[in-house]
Amino acid sequence: MTDISRIDVADSHGERVVSQPTVYVYEAPVRLWHWLNALAILVLIVTGYLIGSPLPTVAGEASQHFVMGYIRFAHFTAGQIMAVGFLLRGYWAFMGNEHSRQIYYVPVWRASFWKELAHEIRWYAFLEKAPKKYVGHNPLAQTAMFAMYTLMSAFMIVTGFALYSEGEGADSWEAKLFGWVFYIWPNSQEVHTWHHLGMYVIVTFIIIHIYAAVREDIMSRQSIISSMVSGERHFKDGA
Protein backbone atom coordinates (compact mmCIF):
# COMPACT_ATOMS: atom_id res chain seq x y z
CA MET A 1 0.00 0.00 0.00
CA THR A 2 0.94 3.61 -0.26
CA ASP A 3 3.75 4.59 2.02
CA ILE A 4 2.44 7.34 4.27
CA SER A 5 5.85 8.90 4.71
CA ARG A 6 6.01 9.50 0.94
CA ILE A 7 2.95 11.70 0.81
CA ASP A 8 3.89 15.23 -0.07
CA VAL A 9 0.98 17.59 -0.51
CA ALA A 10 1.59 20.33 -3.02
CA ASP A 11 -0.55 22.95 -4.65
CA SER A 12 -0.20 24.47 -8.09
CA HIS A 13 2.20 27.08 -6.78
CA GLY A 14 4.92 24.72 -5.75
CA GLU A 15 5.74 22.28 -3.07
CA ARG A 16 4.21 24.02 -0.07
CA VAL A 17 3.24 21.28 2.36
CA VAL A 18 -0.26 21.45 3.79
CA SER A 19 -0.42 19.94 7.20
CA GLN A 20 -4.14 19.42 7.72
CA PRO A 21 -5.74 16.43 5.97
CA THR A 22 -8.80 18.42 4.92
CA VAL A 23 -8.57 21.56 2.82
CA TYR A 24 -11.39 23.80 1.63
CA VAL A 25 -10.75 24.00 -2.12
CA TYR A 26 -13.93 24.60 -4.08
CA GLU A 27 -15.94 27.55 -2.85
CA ALA A 28 -19.73 27.51 -3.10
CA PRO A 29 -19.99 29.57 -6.33
CA VAL A 30 -17.52 27.25 -8.03
CA ARG A 31 -19.43 24.14 -7.00
CA LEU A 32 -22.80 25.61 -7.94
CA TRP A 33 -21.39 26.66 -11.29
CA HIS A 34 -19.82 23.24 -11.88
CA TRP A 35 -23.06 21.33 -11.54
CA LEU A 36 -25.24 23.86 -13.35
CA ASN A 37 -22.69 23.95 -16.12
CA ALA A 38 -22.56 20.15 -16.27
CA LEU A 39 -26.34 20.05 -16.61
CA ALA A 40 -26.32 22.76 -19.29
CA ILE A 41 -23.62 20.96 -21.25
CA LEU A 42 -25.53 17.67 -21.06
CA VAL A 43 -28.62 19.39 -22.47
CA LEU A 44 -26.51 21.15 -25.10
CA ILE A 45 -24.91 17.92 -26.29
CA VAL A 46 -28.17 15.98 -26.57
CA THR A 47 -30.14 18.80 -28.22
CA GLY A 48 -27.18 19.84 -30.38
CA TYR A 49 -26.88 16.34 -31.75
CA LEU A 50 -30.61 16.29 -32.46
CA ILE A 51 -30.40 19.61 -34.30
CA GLY A 52 -27.76 18.13 -36.61
CA SER A 53 -29.59 14.79 -36.95
CA PRO A 54 -33.26 15.40 -36.13
CA LEU A 55 -35.68 12.83 -34.74
CA PRO A 56 -37.92 10.88 -37.14
CA THR A 57 -40.76 12.80 -38.71
CA VAL A 58 -43.88 13.25 -36.60
CA ALA A 59 -47.28 12.59 -38.16
CA GLY A 60 -50.20 14.95 -38.39
CA GLU A 61 -50.53 18.66 -38.93
CA ALA A 62 -47.58 20.99 -38.44
CA SER A 63 -49.72 23.12 -36.12
CA GLN A 64 -50.02 20.20 -33.65
CA HIS A 65 -46.29 19.85 -33.08
CA PHE A 66 -43.27 21.88 -32.07
CA VAL A 67 -40.66 19.12 -31.70
CA MET A 68 -37.77 20.85 -33.44
CA GLY A 69 -38.85 24.13 -31.91
CA TYR A 70 -38.62 22.77 -28.36
CA ILE A 71 -35.29 21.06 -29.06
CA ARG A 72 -33.85 24.30 -30.38
CA PHE A 73 -35.38 26.26 -27.51
CA ALA A 74 -33.72 23.91 -25.01
CA HIS A 75 -30.42 24.26 -26.86
CA PHE A 76 -30.54 28.04 -26.91
CA THR A 77 -31.65 28.28 -23.27
CA ALA A 78 -28.93 25.92 -22.06
CA GLY A 79 -26.46 27.85 -24.20
CA GLN A 80 -27.45 31.14 -22.60
CA ILE A 81 -27.14 29.58 -19.14
CA MET A 82 -23.71 28.22 -20.01
CA ALA A 83 -22.61 31.62 -21.36
CA VAL A 84 -23.82 33.52 -18.30
CA GLY A 85 -22.19 30.87 -16.11
CA PHE A 86 -18.97 31.26 -18.04
CA LEU A 87 -18.98 35.01 -17.42
CA LEU A 88 -19.80 34.68 -13.71
CA ARG A 89 -17.17 31.97 -13.34
CA GLY A 90 -14.67 34.32 -14.95
CA TYR A 91 -15.66 37.02 -12.47
CA TRP A 92 -15.18 34.54 -9.62
CA ALA A 93 -11.65 33.83 -10.84
CA PHE A 94 -10.84 37.34 -9.64
CA MET A 95 -12.90 37.22 -6.46
CA GLY A 96 -12.39 33.65 -5.28
CA ASN A 97 -9.47 31.74 -3.82
CA GLU A 98 -6.37 30.76 -5.79
CA HIS A 99 -7.90 27.46 -6.92
CA SER A 100 -10.67 29.33 -8.71
CA ARG A 101 -8.07 30.70 -11.12
CA GLN A 102 -6.51 27.37 -12.04
CA ILE A 103 -8.56 26.56 -15.12
CA TYR A 104 -7.70 29.87 -16.78
CA TYR A 105 -4.01 29.39 -17.34
CA VAL A 106 -1.24 26.83 -17.69
CA PRO A 107 1.93 27.88 -15.81
CA VAL A 108 4.34 26.93 -18.61
CA TRP A 109 6.90 29.43 -17.29
CA ARG A 110 7.34 27.46 -14.07
CA ALA A 111 9.98 24.73 -14.02
CA SER A 112 8.16 22.80 -11.30
CA PHE A 113 5.11 22.64 -13.56
CA TRP A 114 7.00 20.66 -16.20
CA LYS A 115 8.56 18.39 -13.60
CA GLU A 116 5.21 17.62 -12.04
CA LEU A 117 3.57 17.26 -15.45
CA ALA A 118 6.16 14.63 -16.38
CA HIS A 119 5.52 12.89 -13.04
CA GLU A 120 1.79 12.90 -13.67
CA ILE A 121 2.24 11.44 -17.18
CA ARG A 122 4.47 8.71 -15.74
CA TRP A 123 1.82 8.02 -13.08
CA TYR A 124 -0.83 7.51 -15.74
CA ALA A 125 1.60 5.34 -17.73
CA PHE A 126 1.97 3.10 -14.64
CA LEU A 127 5.63 4.09 -14.29
CA GLU A 128 5.25 5.73 -10.88
CA LYS A 129 4.24 3.78 -7.81
CA ALA A 130 2.50 6.60 -6.00
CA PRO A 131 0.82 9.80 -7.19
CA LYS A 132 1.60 13.20 -5.85
CA LYS A 133 -1.23 14.87 -4.06
CA TYR A 134 -2.50 18.28 -5.02
CA VAL A 135 -4.90 20.56 -3.25
CA GLY A 136 -6.22 21.83 -6.59
CA HIS A 137 -5.73 20.34 -10.03
CA ASN A 138 -2.66 18.33 -10.86
CA PRO A 139 -0.62 19.82 -13.75
CA LEU A 140 -2.00 17.36 -16.31
CA ALA A 141 -5.54 18.03 -15.19
CA GLN A 142 -4.91 21.76 -15.29
CA THR A 143 -3.62 21.54 -18.86
CA ALA A 144 -6.58 19.43 -19.99
CA MET A 145 -8.99 21.71 -18.16
CA PHE A 146 -7.56 24.82 -19.79
CA ALA A 147 -7.31 23.48 -23.35
CA MET A 148 -10.30 21.20 -23.60
CA TYR A 149 -12.69 22.91 -21.26
CA THR A 150 -11.98 26.65 -20.91
CA LEU A 151 -10.79 27.37 -24.46
CA MET A 152 -13.33 25.01 -26.01
CA SER A 153 -16.19 26.53 -24.01
CA ALA A 154 -15.20 29.99 -25.16
CA PHE A 155 -15.06 28.70 -28.74
CA MET A 156 -18.48 27.06 -28.44
CA ILE A 157 -20.03 30.15 -26.84
CA VAL A 158 -18.65 32.46 -29.54
CA THR A 159 -19.61 30.24 -32.49
CA GLY A 160 -22.91 29.41 -30.80
CA PHE A 161 -23.90 33.05 -30.43
CA ALA A 162 -22.75 33.76 -33.98
CA LEU A 163 -25.06 31.03 -35.28
CA TYR A 164 -27.86 32.21 -33.00
CA SER A 165 -27.46 35.74 -34.37
CA GLU A 166 -28.45 34.49 -37.82
CA GLY A 167 -31.99 33.96 -36.62
CA GLU A 168 -32.02 37.08 -34.48
CA GLY A 169 -31.13 39.27 -37.45
CA ALA A 170 -28.26 41.43 -38.62
CA ASP A 171 -29.13 44.29 -36.26
CA SER A 172 -29.33 42.17 -33.10
CA TRP A 173 -26.77 42.55 -30.32
CA GLU A 174 -25.69 38.97 -30.92
CA ALA A 175 -24.80 39.84 -34.52
CA LYS A 176 -22.96 43.00 -33.45
CA LEU A 177 -20.97 41.15 -30.81
CA PHE A 178 -20.31 37.85 -32.54
CA GLY A 179 -20.90 38.52 -36.25
CA TRP A 180 -17.13 38.79 -36.82
CA VAL A 181 -17.04 35.01 -36.81
CA PHE A 182 -18.37 35.20 -40.37
CA TYR A 183 -15.29 37.14 -41.44
CA ILE A 184 -13.33 33.99 -40.63
CA TRP A 185 -15.87 31.58 -42.13
CA PRO A 186 -18.09 33.48 -44.56
CA ASN A 187 -20.32 30.45 -45.12
CA SER A 188 -22.20 29.68 -41.91
CA GLN A 189 -22.38 26.01 -42.90
CA GLU A 190 -18.68 25.96 -42.06
CA VAL A 191 -19.35 27.53 -38.65
CA HIS A 192 -21.96 24.79 -38.07
CA THR A 193 -19.34 22.14 -38.87
CA TRP A 194 -16.77 23.64 -36.47
CA HIS A 195 -19.40 24.05 -33.76
CA HIS A 196 -20.32 20.40 -34.26
CA LEU A 197 -16.69 19.23 -34.04
CA GLY A 198 -16.29 21.36 -30.91
CA MET A 199 -19.05 19.33 -29.29
CA TYR A 200 -17.02 16.15 -29.76
CA VAL A 201 -13.97 17.75 -28.17
CA ILE A 202 -16.16 18.45 -25.13
CA VAL A 203 -17.63 14.92 -25.23
CA THR A 204 -14.08 13.55 -25.27
CA PHE A 205 -13.18 15.88 -22.42
CA ILE A 206 -16.13 14.62 -20.36
CA ILE A 207 -15.05 10.98 -20.80
CA ILE A 208 -11.52 11.78 -19.61
CA HIS A 209 -12.73 14.14 -16.89
CA ILE A 210 -15.09 11.62 -15.29
CA TYR A 211 -12.65 8.72 -15.64
CA ALA A 212 -9.79 10.67 -14.11
CA ALA A 213 -11.98 11.92 -11.26
CA VAL A 214 -13.21 8.43 -10.39
CA ARG A 215 -9.77 6.88 -10.77
CA GLU A 216 -7.98 9.49 -8.68
CA ASP A 217 -10.66 9.30 -6.05
CA ILE A 218 -9.76 5.63 -5.64
CA MET A 219 -6.07 5.53 -6.52
CA SER A 220 -4.52 8.65 -5.07
CA ARG A 221 -6.23 8.36 -1.71
CA GLN A 222 -7.82 11.78 -1.76
CA SER A 223 -11.37 12.92 -2.31
CA ILE A 224 -12.19 14.21 -5.79
CA ILE A 225 -15.85 13.66 -6.53
CA SER A 226 -17.25 14.51 -3.11
CA SER A 227 -15.01 17.59 -3.07
CA MET A 228 -17.15 19.10 -5.83
CA VAL A 229 -20.15 18.65 -3.56
CA SER A 230 -18.73 19.60 -0.16
CA GLY A 231 -15.91 21.80 -1.37
CA GLU A 232 -13.46 20.02 0.94
CA ARG A 233 -10.61 17.80 -0.12
CA HIS A 234 -9.79 14.95 2.25
CA PHE A 235 -6.43 13.29 2.17
CA LYS A 236 -7.26 9.79 3.21
CA ASP A 237 -3.81 8.80 4.42
CA GLY A 238 -2.91 12.20 5.80
CA ALA A 239 -2.11 13.02 9.46
Partner: protein, 360 residues
Protein backbone atom coordinates in the same frame (compact mmCIF):
# COMPACT_ATOMS: atom_id res chain seq x y z
CA UNK B 1 -20.01 55.49 -79.19
CA UNK B 2 -23.57 56.73 -79.57
CA UNK B 3 -24.46 60.31 -78.71
CA UNK B 4 -24.90 60.91 -74.99
CA UNK B 5 -28.46 60.21 -74.01
CA UNK B 6 -29.96 62.05 -71.06
CA UNK B 7 -32.91 61.00 -68.94
CA UNK B 8 -34.94 63.66 -70.76
CA UNK B 9 -34.22 62.01 -74.08
CA UNK B 10 -35.36 58.69 -72.71
CA UNK B 11 -38.52 60.18 -71.24
CA UNK B 12 -39.38 61.81 -74.55
CA UNK B 13 -38.62 58.61 -76.42
CA UNK B 14 -41.13 56.79 -74.22
CA UNK B 15 -43.86 59.06 -75.58
CA UNK B 16 -44.08 61.59 -72.76
CA UNK B 17 -44.77 65.11 -74.09
CA UNK B 18 -42.70 68.15 -73.18
CA UNK B 19 -45.78 69.58 -71.51
CA UNK B 20 -46.25 66.49 -69.30
CA UNK B 21 -42.56 66.56 -68.49
CA UNK B 22 -42.64 70.14 -67.20
CA UNK B 23 -45.85 69.41 -65.25
CA UNK B 24 -44.09 66.44 -63.64
CA UNK B 25 -41.13 68.64 -62.67
CA UNK B 26 -43.40 71.35 -61.18
CA UNK B 27 -45.48 68.83 -59.21
CA UNK B 28 -42.41 67.05 -57.88
CA UNK B 29 -40.79 70.32 -56.81
CA UNK B 30 -44.03 71.48 -55.14
CA UNK B 31 -44.56 68.20 -53.29
CA UNK B 32 -41.00 68.22 -52.06
CA UNK B 33 -41.41 71.87 -50.96
CA UNK B 34 -38.44 73.01 -52.99
CA UNK B 35 -39.43 76.65 -53.65
CA UNK B 36 -40.01 78.58 -56.90
CA UNK B 37 -36.86 77.58 -58.79
CA UNK B 38 -37.05 73.91 -57.81
CA UNK B 39 -38.99 72.88 -60.88
CA UNK B 40 -36.47 74.43 -63.22
CA UNK B 41 -33.64 72.73 -61.38
CA UNK B 42 -35.27 69.31 -61.66
CA UNK B 43 -35.98 69.84 -65.34
CA UNK B 44 -32.40 70.97 -65.90
CA UNK B 45 -31.02 67.94 -64.07
CA UNK B 46 -33.10 65.50 -66.05
CA UNK B 47 -32.24 67.27 -69.31
CA UNK B 48 -28.51 67.20 -68.66
CA UNK B 49 -27.86 64.25 -66.40
CA UNK B 50 -26.51 61.39 -68.43
CA UNK B 51 -27.66 57.86 -67.97
CA UNK B 52 -25.13 55.97 -65.91
CA UNK B 53 -22.70 54.18 -68.23
CA UNK B 54 -22.29 50.52 -67.38
CA UNK B 55 -19.45 48.33 -68.61
CA UNK B 56 -20.28 44.65 -68.28
CA UNK B 57 -17.25 42.35 -68.45
CA UNK B 58 -17.02 38.58 -68.49
CA UNK B 59 -14.23 36.59 -66.87
CA UNK B 60 -14.31 32.89 -66.05
CA UNK B 61 -18.04 32.27 -65.97
CA UNK B 62 -20.91 30.40 -67.60
CA UNK B 63 -23.09 33.43 -68.54
CA UNK B 64 -25.88 32.22 -66.25
CA UNK B 65 -25.89 35.69 -64.65
CA UNK B 66 -26.62 37.29 -68.03
CA UNK B 67 -29.23 34.62 -68.74
CA UNK B 68 -30.90 35.44 -65.44
CA UNK B 69 -30.61 39.22 -65.93
CA UNK B 70 -32.41 39.22 -69.28
CA UNK B 71 -35.40 37.46 -67.68
CA UNK B 72 -36.11 40.19 -65.16
CA UNK B 73 -39.82 41.00 -64.92
CA UNK B 74 -39.87 43.88 -62.41
CA UNK B 75 -38.38 46.00 -63.85
CA UNK B 76 -38.36 44.55 -67.33
CA UNK B 77 -34.83 44.17 -68.56
CA UNK B 78 -35.60 46.24 -71.66
CA UNK B 79 -36.43 49.18 -69.40
CA UNK B 80 -33.19 48.73 -67.50
CA UNK B 81 -31.00 48.41 -70.57
CA UNK B 82 -32.77 50.91 -72.80
CA UNK B 83 -33.95 53.53 -70.31
CA UNK B 84 -32.23 53.40 -66.95
CA UNK B 85 -28.62 52.65 -67.69
CA UNK B 86 -26.44 53.10 -70.71
CA UNK B 87 -25.06 49.62 -71.26
CA UNK B 88 -22.07 50.69 -73.30
CA UNK B 89 -20.19 47.42 -73.33
CA UNK B 90 -21.21 43.80 -72.89
CA UNK B 91 -19.30 41.51 -75.19
CA UNK B 92 -21.97 38.79 -74.97
CA UNK B 93 -24.92 40.82 -76.22
CA UNK B 94 -23.44 43.90 -77.94
CA UNK B 95 -23.54 44.40 -81.71
CA UNK B 96 -19.97 45.63 -82.01
CA UNK B 97 -17.10 43.16 -82.07
CA UNK B 98 -13.31 43.04 -82.16
CA UNK B 99 -11.36 46.30 -82.12
CA UNK B 100 -14.56 48.30 -82.45
CA UNK B 101 -15.84 46.84 -79.20
CA UNK B 102 -12.54 47.22 -77.35
CA UNK B 103 -12.35 50.90 -78.40
CA UNK B 104 -15.50 51.55 -76.32
CA UNK B 105 -13.65 50.56 -73.16
CA UNK B 106 -10.90 53.09 -73.81
CA UNK B 107 -13.43 55.76 -74.66
CA UNK B 108 -15.57 55.15 -71.55
CA UNK B 109 -12.53 55.13 -69.32
CA UNK B 110 -11.46 58.57 -70.55
CA UNK B 111 -14.83 60.21 -70.97
CA UNK B 112 -16.52 58.99 -67.80
CA UNK B 113 -13.57 58.81 -65.46
CA UNK B 114 -14.89 57.90 -62.00
CA UNK B 115 -18.49 57.89 -63.21
CA UNK B 116 -19.14 54.54 -64.81
CA UNK B 117 -20.14 51.31 -63.14
CA UNK B 118 -18.08 48.23 -63.81
CA UNK B 119 -20.24 45.12 -63.68
CA UNK B 120 -18.18 41.96 -63.61
CA UNK B 121 -19.58 38.55 -64.35
CA UNK B 122 -17.11 35.79 -63.56
CA UNK B 123 -13.68 36.12 -62.04
CA UNK B 124 -10.05 36.31 -63.09
CA UNK B 125 -7.80 33.24 -62.79
CA UNK B 126 -4.41 34.30 -61.44
CA UNK B 127 -2.39 31.14 -62.03
CA UNK B 128 0.26 31.15 -64.82
CA UNK B 129 0.04 34.94 -65.10
CA UNK B 130 -3.70 34.84 -65.73
CA UNK B 131 -3.42 32.97 -69.04
CA UNK B 132 -6.40 30.72 -68.27
CA UNK B 133 -8.73 33.51 -69.33
CA UNK B 134 -7.62 35.60 -72.30
CA UNK B 135 -9.96 38.40 -73.35
CA UNK B 136 -9.10 40.63 -76.31
CA UNK B 137 -5.56 39.22 -76.43
CA UNK B 138 -4.80 40.03 -72.80
CA UNK B 139 -5.25 38.13 -69.56
CA UNK B 140 -8.64 39.02 -68.13
CA UNK B 141 -7.10 40.05 -64.81
CA UNK B 142 -5.21 42.89 -66.55
CA UNK B 143 -8.31 44.09 -68.35
CA UNK B 144 -10.24 43.98 -65.07
CA UNK B 145 -7.66 46.01 -63.16
CA UNK B 146 -7.36 48.47 -66.02
CA UNK B 147 -11.11 49.14 -66.20
CA UNK B 148 -11.48 49.16 -62.41
CA UNK B 149 -9.00 52.05 -62.08
CA UNK B 150 -11.50 54.69 -63.16
CA UNK B 151 -14.79 53.06 -62.18
CA UNK B 152 -17.19 54.61 -59.68
CA UNK B 153 -18.08 51.24 -58.23
CA UNK B 154 -17.91 47.59 -59.12
CA UNK B 155 -20.77 45.13 -59.15
CA UNK B 156 -19.60 41.56 -58.62
CA UNK B 157 -22.28 39.51 -60.33
CA UNK B 158 -22.93 36.02 -59.12
CA UNK B 159 -21.06 33.47 -57.05
CA UNK B 160 -18.05 33.60 -59.43
CA UNK B 161 -17.28 37.26 -58.97
CA UNK B 162 -18.35 37.26 -55.30
CA UNK B 163 -16.83 34.05 -53.97
CA UNK B 164 -15.17 32.10 -56.77
CA UNK B 165 -17.83 29.46 -57.46
CA UNK B 166 -17.15 26.18 -59.26
CA UNK B 167 -13.87 27.20 -60.90
CA UNK B 168 -12.53 28.13 -57.45
CA UNK B 169 -13.72 24.87 -55.87
CA UNK B 170 -10.96 22.62 -54.59
CA UNK B 171 -8.35 22.19 -55.94
CA UNK B 172 -8.89 25.40 -57.97
CA UNK B 173 -6.28 24.63 -60.66
CA UNK B 174 -6.50 28.03 -62.37
CA UNK B 175 -6.48 29.92 -59.06
CA UNK B 176 -9.75 31.59 -59.90
CA UNK B 177 -10.08 34.55 -57.51
CA UNK B 178 -13.11 36.63 -56.52
CA UNK B 179 -13.12 40.32 -57.47
CA UNK B 180 -12.65 41.71 -53.96
CA UNK B 181 -9.39 39.77 -53.62
CA UNK B 182 -8.02 41.46 -56.77
CA UNK B 183 -9.46 44.99 -56.59
CA UNK B 184 -8.98 46.64 -53.22
CA UNK B 185 -9.46 50.37 -53.78
CA UNK B 186 -13.02 50.56 -55.15
CA UNK B 187 -16.41 50.04 -53.55
CA UNK B 188 -17.54 46.54 -54.48
CA UNK B 189 -21.05 45.22 -54.16
CA UNK B 190 -21.45 41.46 -54.18
CA UNK B 191 -24.59 40.04 -55.73
CA UNK B 192 -23.98 36.34 -55.19
CA UNK B 193 -26.00 33.42 -56.50
CA UNK B 194 -25.52 30.93 -59.28
CA UNK B 195 -27.09 32.84 -60.90
CA UNK B 196 -28.48 35.70 -58.79
CA UNK B 197 -32.24 36.24 -59.01
CA UNK B 198 -33.10 38.42 -62.02
CA UNK B 199 -35.10 40.92 -59.97
CA UNK B 200 -32.29 41.17 -57.44
CA UNK B 201 -29.88 42.05 -60.24
CA UNK B 202 -32.09 44.69 -61.81
CA UNK B 203 -33.09 45.90 -58.35
CA UNK B 204 -29.47 46.58 -57.48
CA UNK B 205 -28.87 48.35 -60.80
CA UNK B 206 -32.04 50.44 -60.30
CA UNK B 207 -30.94 51.50 -56.84
CA UNK B 208 -27.47 52.54 -57.95
CA UNK B 209 -28.67 54.51 -60.97
CA UNK B 210 -31.49 56.16 -59.02
CA UNK B 211 -29.51 57.26 -55.99
CA UNK B 212 -26.02 57.43 -57.50
CA UNK B 213 -24.57 55.32 -54.72
CA UNK B 214 -24.42 51.71 -53.55
CA UNK B 215 -27.22 50.39 -51.35
CA UNK B 216 -26.51 49.51 -47.72
CA UNK B 217 -24.21 46.49 -47.61
CA UNK B 218 -23.82 43.78 -45.01
CA UNK B 219 -20.61 42.57 -43.40
CA UNK B 220 -19.70 40.57 -46.48
CA UNK B 221 -20.46 43.27 -49.04
CA UNK B 222 -23.89 42.06 -50.09
CA UNK B 223 -26.90 44.42 -50.35
CA UNK B 224 -28.92 44.13 -47.14
CA UNK B 225 -32.22 44.56 -48.93
CA UNK B 226 -31.86 41.17 -50.63
CA UNK B 227 -29.31 39.24 -48.57
CA UNK B 228 -29.99 40.07 -44.92
CA UNK B 229 -32.08 36.97 -44.25
CA UNK B 230 -31.68 33.30 -44.90
CA UNK B 231 -33.85 31.20 -47.19
CA UNK B 232 -34.83 29.33 -44.00
CA UNK B 233 -36.11 32.50 -42.28
CA UNK B 234 -38.78 33.11 -44.91
CA UNK B 235 -39.29 29.57 -46.18
CA UNK B 236 -42.94 28.60 -46.54
CA UNK B 237 -41.98 25.07 -45.30
CA UNK B 238 -40.55 26.48 -42.06
CA UNK B 239 -43.57 25.39 -39.95
CA UNK B 240 -42.72 21.78 -40.85
CA UNK B 241 -39.15 22.32 -39.67
CA UNK B 242 -40.30 23.69 -36.32
CA UNK B 243 -42.83 20.88 -35.96
CA UNK B 244 -40.18 18.26 -36.72
CA UNK B 245 -41.70 17.04 -39.98
CA UNK B 246 -39.01 16.14 -42.48
CA UNK B 247 -38.70 14.51 -45.86
CA UNK B 248 -36.56 11.44 -45.18
CA UNK B 249 -36.57 10.01 -48.71
CA UNK B 250 -37.44 11.53 -52.05
CA UNK B 251 -40.48 9.31 -52.53
CA UNK B 252 -41.87 9.15 -49.01
CA UNK B 253 -45.15 10.46 -47.63
CA UNK B 254 -43.46 13.58 -46.27
CA UNK B 255 -42.10 14.45 -49.72
CA UNK B 256 -45.63 14.30 -51.10
CA UNK B 257 -46.93 16.43 -48.26
CA UNK B 258 -44.27 19.06 -48.80
CA UNK B 259 -42.47 18.74 -45.47
CA UNK B 260 -39.13 20.35 -44.63
CA UNK B 261 -36.13 19.26 -46.74
CA UNK B 262 -33.58 19.77 -43.94
CA UNK B 263 -32.69 16.08 -43.71
CA UNK B 264 -32.31 15.93 -47.49
CA UNK B 265 -29.45 18.40 -47.23
CA UNK B 266 -31.33 21.65 -47.82
CA UNK B 267 -28.87 24.51 -47.24
CA UNK B 268 -31.65 27.04 -46.62
CA UNK B 269 -30.62 27.47 -42.95
CA UNK B 270 -27.17 28.72 -43.98
CA UNK B 271 -27.94 30.55 -47.20
CA UNK B 272 -28.54 34.28 -47.46
CA UNK B 273 -30.65 35.09 -50.49
CA UNK B 274 -34.12 36.32 -51.46
CA UNK B 275 -35.35 33.11 -53.18
CA UNK B 276 -38.05 32.38 -50.59
CA UNK B 277 -39.53 35.87 -50.96
CA UNK B 278 -38.80 37.11 -54.50
CA UNK B 279 -38.74 33.61 -56.05
CA UNK B 280 -37.77 32.91 -59.65
CA UNK B 281 -39.11 33.40 -63.15
CA UNK B 282 -41.37 36.27 -62.25
CA UNK B 283 -42.28 34.83 -58.85
CA UNK B 284 -43.40 31.43 -60.17
CA UNK B 285 -41.38 29.15 -57.87
CA UNK B 286 -38.03 28.45 -56.26
CA UNK B 287 -36.09 25.21 -55.62
CA UNK B 288 -37.72 24.31 -52.28
CA UNK B 289 -41.18 24.96 -53.68
CA UNK B 290 -40.30 22.53 -56.47
CA UNK B 291 -39.44 19.87 -53.88
CA UNK B 292 -35.65 20.10 -53.97
CA UNK B 293 -33.50 21.47 -51.19
CA UNK B 294 -31.50 24.66 -51.53
CA UNK B 295 -27.89 23.94 -52.53
CA UNK B 296 -26.65 27.23 -51.06
CA UNK B 297 -25.47 28.65 -54.40
CA UNK B 298 -25.11 32.20 -53.06
CA UNK B 299 -22.73 31.15 -50.27
CA UNK B 300 -18.95 31.13 -50.13
CA UNK B 301 -17.41 27.91 -51.45
CA UNK B 302 -20.74 26.11 -51.67
CA UNK B 303 -19.29 23.44 -53.98
CA UNK B 304 -16.98 22.35 -51.17
CA UNK B 305 -19.71 22.25 -48.51
CA UNK B 306 -21.32 19.11 -49.89
CA UNK B 307 -22.89 16.71 -50.14
CA UNK B 308 -25.92 18.61 -51.43
CA UNK B 309 -28.18 15.86 -50.12
CA UNK B 310 -26.99 15.53 -46.53
CA UNK B 311 -27.30 17.86 -43.59
CA UNK B 312 -23.78 17.43 -42.26
CA UNK B 313 -20.93 18.69 -44.38
CA UNK B 314 -18.12 16.38 -45.46
CA UNK B 315 -14.71 17.10 -44.02
CA UNK B 316 -11.89 16.23 -46.38
CA UNK B 317 -8.90 16.60 -44.07
CA UNK B 318 -9.09 12.95 -43.08
CA UNK B 319 -8.35 11.53 -46.51
CA UNK B 320 -11.73 9.99 -47.03
CA UNK B 321 -14.91 11.99 -46.78
CA UNK B 322 -16.30 12.03 -43.27
CA UNK B 323 -18.76 14.31 -41.54
CA UNK B 324 -18.45 15.84 -38.06
CA UNK B 325 -20.47 13.04 -36.45
CA UNK B 326 -18.33 10.30 -37.94
CA UNK B 327 -15.08 12.00 -36.96
CA UNK B 328 -16.33 13.00 -33.51
CA UNK B 329 -17.80 9.59 -32.66
CA UNK B 330 -14.59 7.92 -33.83
CA UNK B 331 -12.49 10.24 -31.62
CA UNK B 332 -14.81 9.77 -28.64
CA UNK B 333 -14.79 6.01 -29.28
CA UNK B 334 -11.01 5.82 -29.34
CA UNK B 335 -10.76 7.85 -26.13
CA UNK B 336 -13.51 5.77 -24.54
CA UNK B 337 -11.71 2.53 -25.44
CA UNK B 338 -8.45 3.98 -24.13
CA UNK B 339 -10.15 4.88 -20.85
CA UNK B 340 -11.58 1.37 -20.46
CA UNK B 341 -8.20 -0.18 -21.23
CA UNK B 342 -6.51 2.17 -18.79
CA UNK B 343 -9.05 1.33 -16.09
CA UNK B 344 -8.51 -2.38 -16.67
CA UNK B 345 -4.73 -1.94 -16.53
CA UNK B 346 -5.12 0.03 -13.29
CA UNK B 347 -7.20 -2.73 -11.74
CA UNK B 348 -4.75 -5.45 -12.81
CA UNK B 349 -1.80 -3.46 -11.54
CA UNK B 350 -3.52 -2.91 -8.21
CA UNK B 351 -4.29 -6.60 -7.74
CA UNK B 352 -0.75 -7.55 -8.68
CA UNK B 353 0.81 -5.01 -6.30
CA UNK B 354 -1.59 -6.10 -3.51
CA UNK B 355 -0.50 -9.71 -3.98
CA UNK B 356 3.10 -8.59 -3.88
CA UNK B 357 2.41 -6.74 -0.62
CA UNK B 358 0.89 -9.87 0.89
CA UNK B 359 3.69 -12.12 -0.27
CA UNK B 360 6.32 -9.69 0.96
Amino acid sequence: MAAIETFYDVIRRQGVTRRSFTKFCSLTAASLGMGPIGAAKIANALETKERTPVIWMHGLECTCCSESFIRSAHPLVKDVVLSMISLDYDDTIMAAAGHQAEAILQETKEKYKGKYILAVEGNPPLNEGGMFCIDGGKPFVEKLKWMAEDAMAIIAWGACASWGCVQAAKPNPTQATPIDKVIHDKPIIKVPGCPPIAEVMTGVVTYITTFGRLPELDRQGRPNMFYSQRIHDKCYRRPHFDAGQFVEQWDDESARKGHCLYKMGCKGPTTYNACSTVRWNGGVSFPIQSGHGCIGCSEDGFWDKGPFYERLTNIHQFGVEKNADEIGLAAAGVVGAAVVTHAAATAVKRIVSKNNDHSA
